[in-house]
Amino acid sequence: MTEVTDTYDKGKGPVATGSPYEAIRAVPVRHYGRWVSAVVVVALLVWLGYAFSQGNILWGTVGDKLFDHTVIQGVWHTILISVCAMAMGLVLGVLFAVMRLSKNPVTSAVSWLYIWFFRGTPVYVQLLMWFNLSLIFPVINLMPLYKNDTVAVMTPFVAALLGLGLNEGAYMAEIVRAGVQSVDYGQTEAAHALGMTGPRTMRRIVLPQAMRVIIPPTGNEFINMLKTSSLVSVVQYTELLRSTSNIGSDTTAIMEMYFVASIWYLVLTSVFSVGQYYVERRFARGSLRSLPLTPWQKVRANLTTLRRPKVVA
């Protein structure tokens, strides 16, 4: 046994010198199916690319309009409304999740009702209802603080924000609740045993640990939000889709402008996905023995291992 270990340490390979067998060099299984399917996939892609290139599409227009002033403003509006609505959704989500889990039957019922309504009706309908709120409340009157006509307050941006944000809050509440419930109850007991009150335990101990469970579906929600924000054109907010299709209908370059919009949506979701990776890494602290490498660290690690480590003889 000691002989085997010694041989291995000298870097001559894992097989002992005294072994009657040499290292195995078997014929690998041939995966013909993989080659066939790869050819089929490539053929389909080539055909699809050809169809698009031959279609009645002015590709030059796509390039020209990609950085058009109106389009860029649409991109900016999409980012703005998505980020604001998501921020609102996050805050409401945490609030209503904590309320839902509360021992207080009133807060718990209020939260249930909120989630029931805003998750149970289409966001499209909710947007239209906010936009037409003046039909029910012609005047917003917060005596003595504030008073104004609803029409003046309910600008396209405000209607879009309320519609998307309140809807998102209902979904986030369920995500946060799942995260909170995933944290071992022993953590709460340990915090209580130190003399922490319920709210402080939630803020310092439970929520930070719940984040690991909350973040991946939240990333999903944000990507969804970037795309769902295209619905707010219904309340006259000029975001990416509306700004591109406006140009499209003016210039009859309809399909071209949908391409422009799609390219921008892909750019936004891709950039965000990278950001999400770093946020997840941040909240993995303590749950893994060592943090996963960032993409940049991976590249560096691969570069340094290009030189094989010298075998000590």
């Binding site: 007991e189 340990a190 209580h192 130190l194 003399g195 922490m196 009150t197 319920g198 749950s287």
Partner: protein, 250 residues
């Protein structure tokens, strides 16, 4: 320090504590032994009101646990008041329950900073001293997942001590540990006992109970069967149930 009179506790239909009477003196190391399901852990958890008792009376340091007596009626305490009383009672769990998103040092600082509102500098200084005391000064920056079970449990003891408690509760602190790690934790507890800390220890470590304990109670089926000095109860048990339990574990 702790006094229990006819304490009852049920979980739904399950009657766990069926009238527990006992008294723990200050600076005493009080060991609770008994078969699993006998209610010893439940009783320990009643002492800092992690469980609410259903009948009887339980006092810590002369004050009722979880209630305030006005006339002959008991009033439940508010969450904030319960939390305030728990500050003076440290607890160590079988499964450690360290906060995994904080380093060892941050775990020990958490109570003083968040509950006692101490400055971080002061809390950090004392946390380092406490980690040194449990032999883990080197591991201050490690997360719990990077520590062995025995190290985690010693951090958990330091975390409880950081609140400068009058009373320490240990709920089977070595039951989740590999045998060779038990000694380090027991050494820390022995040191605490020598410093005069009042300790209530639910344990299966009969050697520790005999050597360090000042008093010992054998519980079975929700009642105290036998109590006395560990040497007497362990060496010369009077009750059949005690005898049969000890014959299995010793």
């Amino acid at each position: 320090m702790v006094k229990a009179e006819a304490v009852h506790k049920s979980f739904g239909a399950a009657h766990i504590l069926k009238g527990v009477d006992l008294e723990v003196a200050p600076r005493e190391v009080f060991c609770l032994i008994g078969p699993s399901g006998s209610g010893k852990s439940t009783f320990l958890r009643c002492i800092n009101h992690l469980e609410q008792i259903n009948a009887g009376r339980l006092w810590v340091d002369g004050e009722l646990v979880g209630y305030r007596q006005r006339g002959d009626r008991l009033h439940e305490l508010k969450d904030r008041e319960v939390a305030a009383k728990r500050r003076d009672i440290g607890m160590v769990f079988q499964r450690f329950n360290l906060f995994p998103h904080m380093t060892a040092l941050e775990n020990v600082m958490e109570g003083p900073v968040q509950v006692k509102r101490e400055s971080k500098a002061v809390a950090r200084e004392r946390a380092r001293t406490l980690l040194d005391r449990v032999g883990l000064g080197e591991k201050a920056g490690n997360y719990p997942s990077q520590l062995s079970g025995g190290q985690q449990q010693r951090v958990a003891i330091a975390r409880a001590l950081a609140m400068e408690p009058k009373l320490m509760l240990f709920d089977e602190p070595t039951s989740a540990l590999d045998p060779e790690l038990v000694g380090d934790v027991l050494d820390v507890m022995r040191g605490l006992a020598e410093d005069g800390m009042t300790m209530i220890v639910v344990t299966h470590e009969m050697g520790f109970a005999r050597e360090v304990g000042d008093a010992l109670v054998f519980m079975d089926d929700g009642v105290v069967v036998e109590s006395g000095h560990p040497r007497d109860v362990l060496g010369n048990p009077q009750h059949e149930r005690t005898k049969s339990f000890l014959s299995k574990v010793l």
